[in-house]
């Protein structure tokens, strides 16, 4: 299996690593880069647990070959907030009780973040659309929607 060198920016930092030709971005994030916050839920891009932001767009990292992201900028859950301060979205999720088992949370936050990066004050319908590719079994999505709605974005 030919190893490729991948150079990209992850959470604002330039990284360089070797990856297999058929590795997905999800696998590389978790294995080579040790960023375990992004989860594998189904492997076929249906559950959204592996959502990251790639060049500003929410994508399922299990559906992207890591070889394709050479030169790209990726934001993962680890890039939200600082080590001593939560991103307003994360705080809102905590406040609105939008987290139960937490397995969908990373992906959910990234879809929400991508929405807020492209749209200030989205409507409730837009929020539902933005997270419709993120499955949550613990909730009815309503607290998550409220948490995203409650962001006072500039």
């Amino acid at each position: 299996m030919g190893a490729l060198r991948i150079d990209c920016t992850i959470n604002g930092r330039k990284v360089s690593f070797l990856a297999g030709a058929d590795q997905t971005l999800l696998e590389a994030l978790r294995e080579q880069l040790k960023l375990k916050g992004t989860k594998c839920g189904c492997g076929i891009g249906e559950c959204g647990a592996c959502t990251v932001i790639l060049d500003g767009l929410a994508v399922c990292s299990c559906q992207v070959f890591v070889a394709q992201i050479d030169g790209c900028a990726i934001l993962t859950i680890e890039g939200l907030g600082q080590h001593d301060e939560l991103d307003p979205l994360q705080e809102s999720f905590v406040e609105h009780r939008a987290v139960q088992c937490g397995f969908c949370t990373s992906g959910m936050l990234m879809s929400a973040k991508a929405l807020l990066m492209s749209r200030k004050r989205p409507t409730r319908e837009e929020i539902r659309q933005a997270i419709s590719g993120n499955l949550c079994r613990c909730s009815d999505y309503n607290n998550i929607v409220l948490a995203i709605e409650d962001i006072d974005s500039e």
Partner: protein, 291 residues
């Protein structure tokens, strides 16, 4: 086992690489189909050729009476395009109904077409129009009518060393109304149980001509010509639309038989029971749609 991942810089390079590696190579764009096919063992290439960032294949523009869409236009870009929204709004409707946002952000127009799923929403809309695809290889290019291009369930006439670069849609005449509707089991990320694209050219409150493309029933989206003939030059009415629905059903049943698709299960009998009513409903909706 994938041994190499190639990132050609130009379309020509990509075609050359596909020619060089032959059946061992598979093209990758958004990768939303290829990743899954690879994992399921449906394909077993040793080379992947990544064309996702090739220049010039993501353009949307008008050329005379044709709307040109680059094959790397993503599904999200289709939805966001004011040009598409203005001239082929049904395509936006169809695109919006595909997958979740993540899939739409990554999946491409070309990917949908080449995948040729019988239920593909975008293909259903394209099938309602005079539409052709442009295929390039190292020798040049050929232009194929979409109907010739799609040859069966997940089958196209693309050669392994060709790249689909462009889709050209002949725009409908002024005074046309169109809509796309799909029946699905849930409201997001749900494949079509049945879908229909309806295009009506109207003049003085009469239907001049109609196009109906039925998807997810036969091996590919199908123009329902019998009903189109019935609708031509008629004044719209509930009875007319119901008759059209019956004709669609009859033609679909005949086509299904000739394609060797029987009504084998409850889903099949549901589709055919629903069909005439669904068609009438979409016709009504299209007719009542404000421009």
């Amino acid at each position: 086992m994938i041994r190499s991942f190639l990132r050609p810089v130009t379309i020509y390079d990509a075609c050359q690489q596909m020619r060089d590696h032959g059946e061992n190579a598979v093209l990758v764009a958004g990768a939303t189909h290829v990743v899954n096919e690879l994992h399921r063992g449906l394909i077993n290439p040793s080379v992947l050729v990544d064309i996702y960032r090739l220049n010039g294949l993501d353009v949307i523009c008008m050329e005379g009476e044709e709307l040109m869409l680059g094959s790397l236009v993503t599904i999200s870009e289709l939805i966001a395009s004011s040009v598409v929204r203005q001239f082929v709004p049904a395509l936006c409707q169809a695109a919006q109904s595909v997958g979740g946002k993540q899939r739409r952000n990554r999946g491409t127009l070309g990917g949908s077409i080449v995948h040729a799923d019988p239920g593909d929403e975008i293909l259903s809309v394209l099938s309602a129009f005079d539409c052709c695809v442009v295929l390039k290889d190292i020798e040049g290019e050929r232009v194929l009518d979409l109907r010739e291009f799609i040859s069966g369930i997940r089958q196209t006439t693309i050669r392994n060393d060709e790249i689909l670069t462009e889709v050209r849609i002949r725009l409908p005449e002024r005074g046309s109304r169109m809509s796309f509707r799909k029946v699905s089991r849930r409201n997001a990320s749900s494949s079509s149980v049945m879908n229909l694209t309806c295009l009506l050219l109207l003049k003085d409150n009469r239907i001049v001509c109609a196009r109906l493309a039925l998807g997810s029933v036969l091996t590919k989206a199908h123009r329902m010509s019998d009903a189109e003939v019935l609708l031509a030059q008629k004044k719209p009415s509930r009875t007319l639309f119901e008759k059209a629905g019956s004709l669609v059903l009859n033609q679909a049943l005949q086509e299904a038989e000739s394609e060797g698709l029987g009504i084998v299960d409850s889903v099949g009998s549901y589709k055919f029971s629903l069909m005439p009513h669904f068609v009438a409903q979409v016709l009504t909706e299209t007719w009542e749609r404000k421009e």
